[in-house]
Amino acid sequence: MGFFWTVSATVVLLAITWRFLGSYMAAVFDGRINYLRWLERLIYRLLAVDPEQEQSWQRYAGALVVFSGVAILVTYTCMRIQQHIGINPQHQLDVKPALSFNTAVSFVTNTNWQNYSGESTMSFFTLMVALTVQQFVSASVGIAVAIAMVRGFVRKDCATIGNFWADLVRCILYIMVPISFLFGILWVAQGAVDTLGASVHVKNALTGFTQSIARGPMGFIEPIKQLGTNGGGPFNANGAHPYENPTPLTNLLSLVLVLAIPFALTYTFGKMAGKIREGVALLGAMVLIFSVWAGIAAYAEQRPNPAVARGAAVTHTVVRQKAGNMEGKEVRNGASASSLYNIASTQTSTGSVDSANDSFNPMGGFALLTGMMLGEVTPGGAGSGLYTILLMAVIAVFIGGLMIGRTPEYLGKKIQAREVKLAAIGVLVMPVTVLIMTAIAVSIHAGRVGALNAGPHGFTEILYAFTSQANNNGSAFAGLNGNTAFYNVMGAIAMLMGRFAVMIPCLALGGTLAAKGSVPAGLGTFRTDTPMFSGLVVGVIVIIGGLSFFPAVSLGPIVEQLSTGKFF
């Protein structure tokens, strides 16, 4: 499928999901969808919770933290004892404590950073019961937070922002499970492997070597990996592996699934706010940045790889790079489509990749890295994209609102000291975490030995690792040996910060706003449903990301690119 057709089909499919999935999600969280009410009730009874009981933001956050804590514990335990549980045809050993911790945190925080190769580390039990369950659950937690925060904007003089358990259960039952199930069938139909059988061994008649081919229950895991912006593939090669991503159609649908919920949530937001245009304004900001970054990456990857060219010059061989930089890319996907896939995956906090980030041209790598540095809001992860961009929007409203001479308001809610404080905390946690952790890593031996390369590329590898984890993205630049006690623990801290130190201010903001009255809109009101506002939000995103990371990035990909003498 040509690149043009891929893009067109993606846009059309996303337009459809934006409209219909968006309004469907609004209905789900309003409690208007309840065809599985019996199952819902059963789950509430098992959890011993009352879904009708509205929660204050503190209780909502409390439930969320407790739930996530238990989830980390359960996931960790599964990995530590997988050897003894079963569904382990490959006889994988128990996972080491540091790696188990990192991995448990990684899946619970919707990051799916993997310091291991799936096929040689995890039993099928761990894969299905621990990791895949978290792929459903963690995405739903993210969406629940976004919805609770939006309720804060919509409600007036109200002390509560919804019920965490109800939001979580409804999201899993009515959104995640049905869509993943349908696409699971499609994936298997397209040829994705779905078995609990052990690896098969094939002897190559020509070379005499025996090849082990790993298998597993991929077909039904793959859709939720994408839909929940998780990205943790059962195979190390992730989306490039034909068992995970068998055909061009699945490649296209992966792209659509990854982007569907984050984009559609802007519709949900508009719908809940009573004005779709409010959601469109945020969508506009997301699409603008996404398109520019996708353009940079696609353009950069169309260029030849300078390292390959240098190597060719040294060995006096002629290497034609007409198809662009094909190093580390699947031939069946090509340079442009691969870069689009990886851009979608880095800008949605998914982190599944279908080509090697490490082998991207410097400016391609720059696009992947900086896409995350903008805070994963374009469109960002499931739920996390919306709640983070709302923080950016609050700051944009504040600065813009002052400029028209009124106490700034967003959807009728006054943005004052407390709101600014919470938004600033939520927005600044990520850059501060990334910078400090990278600084520690490059300063001490345990950090420096991890990097495969020296100089700017090695620096980029470390910077990328912490950027990816603190943004709960999970994509790896590769080239960094992350499976050390140092990187496992530091990475886990980065993931926890990037998840909960953002979620809690978001919920607090929702709670604060819900308690406020609403100011009626008039001619003097700062409009937040205009292209101008989209532009302001883009400005805030780019300026905050740019100002925080410009020095760091200039020491990594920029200096690397400039070594070639020019920007592109």
Binding site: M403, A439, I440, L523
Partner: protein, 687 residues
Amino acid sequence: MSPEPSGPGSRVIRAQGVAQSRSLFDVEILRHAAVDSLRKLSLRTQARNPVMFVVLVGTVVTLVESIAHPTLFDWSITIWLFATVLFANFAEAMAEGRGKAQADTLRRMRTETQARRLGSGGAEELVQASDLSRGDMVVCEAGDLIPSDGEIVEGIASVDESAITGESAPVIRESGGDRSAVTGGTRVLSDRIVVKITAERGHTFLDRMISLVEGARRQKTPNEIALTILLAALTIVFLPVVVVLQPFGHFSGATVSVVVLVSLLVCLIPTTIGALLSAIGIAGMDRLVQKNVLAMSGRAVEAAGDVQTLLLDKTGTITLGNRMASQFIPAGDHGMEELAQAARLASLADETPEGRSIVALADELFNLRDQKLDERHVFVPFTANTRMSGLDLVGQKIRKGAADAVKSWVVEQGGRIPPGLDDTVASLARAGSTPLVVAEGPEILGVIELKDVVKQGMVERFDQLRSIGIRTVMITGDNPLTAAAIAAEAGVDDFLAEATPETKMELIKAEQEGGKLVAMTGDGTNDAPALAQADVGVAMNSGTTAAKEAGNMVDLDSNPTKLIDIVEIGKQLLITRGALTTFSIANDVAKYFAIIPALFVATYPQLNTLNIMKLHSPQSAVMSAVIFNALIIVALIPLALRGVKFRPVGASSILRRNVLVYGVGGIIVPFVFIKLIDLFITAVHWY
């Protein structure tokens, strides 16, 4: 009537009042500000402003570095960083300057006065004004300074309040009613009054004025606090951004100088807005004082910018308050010119504004100005009994007056009432006008319509308010029909007819329940609850003490139209802050392009590509950025003090304009000036 001024100080006051229009950049103020900017270096003052505090700490760091390894570069940076701190102090001192000068003038008025206190038996004793306490009775006679704030309980007097208001015409103050309040420091010009003191020592209106114009009790306003938080957050995030460059540089094999890192930090944190923030707030209050309005808190000024509903009294605010002739309506088969001529004659000797307006209208319509009056005429003045006035000439009697009075006068002379007259009179009355019937002998000539005239320019003013999203509501005691007619003519959005203090209060509460902020003016004691309830309550200085205490602003000119100016000043305050914040943050882009290549170019020569300004050397680049960062503060002081110009257009166009000017401009301007500074310091071989 006018007493001798008591000293040179009071002469100045008399001439100018509080609102003396000293220039913002008076030499005197500049000199004081220069001294004050050093005085403000105290740690306690600096710690209040997180952004500038970081600059101060950075200066100390570079100072230590400069002493340890003295180089011209390090010392220059240290000096410029220190200058940045001083410039911020200077901006604040400049903003305070005008207020301080005014406070000094007012203080001179507060000099010890003697008061004649009435004892319980009615005996007078002389005491110091400062010894008076609440509830004391004092006697003031012509020439006396009123010792403290109070209410007249006995007598009537003309009072010169120019010391407070700058208005030289004396005002009448009398016991009872809404004109009984007197202010300490004003002078009785005639008669004798007994005043009951209502203010505690140190809490008089004058004391409050002094501390307000001086800004001594200035507290940060809600939006200012929110902005300070945002600026602090940006400062906090830039701290790691810069500090980590040390290990990052080390990893990359670069040695990063501490002085350059501090320079980068200072350039990145929002020093421009940080330095000017308090100056903007102080200057906003000062602009109000220049308009002769005293705001009791900055919060009230800020709230004024948020006001969505403006309650305005009809009489005196929207209308002139005087009824003016607006048209002649002839009756029967009489012509309009005949009516106008008679009406003019009947009014020639009538010196009331109504009478004069009739003459003026007739002159204007029929050019009668040159008509001479027969020598043999007798004026018939208006009396409460006859309710008519007019003129007797030889064989000609002209009367104008209330309809029933003129009608019975005509009937007495055997005349008859033309058909339709009663309808005309009734319809005029319904429309809120006053009909005057004009008769000559037994003949009724017609009706003059007297109308309360809407002030010029009000319609445009209300249009402007509407375009910035403010709804105006006219408050009047008139009946609904009359009120509707005037409301329509003035172009207000709504009206409250037959208003009582209770209905006013209800209206305010209803608006506030809908989430709106309400502003109103008032002067009477019965306005006090509503003034207190309104988000912005502007009490007229001519009003009662109760009203002045209930409101959060006092208008010394007692001009209710000023609400509109107050709203604009409130908005301007926020716009200036927002614009300079945007400018400050946008500036960082250019500063990065100056400093980052300079920082690492030794290690990675290819980074010189980022040196898009082609600055001469790494050192000159850093230097130029730091100098720009310091000088931009000084350059923006006038803007901070005057405020960004407010245009009464819709929110979207204001935003578009400000984003363009301060956002896009804020990105471009530093590129140009950093380059120029670099050219300059290279040319003079500083580097």
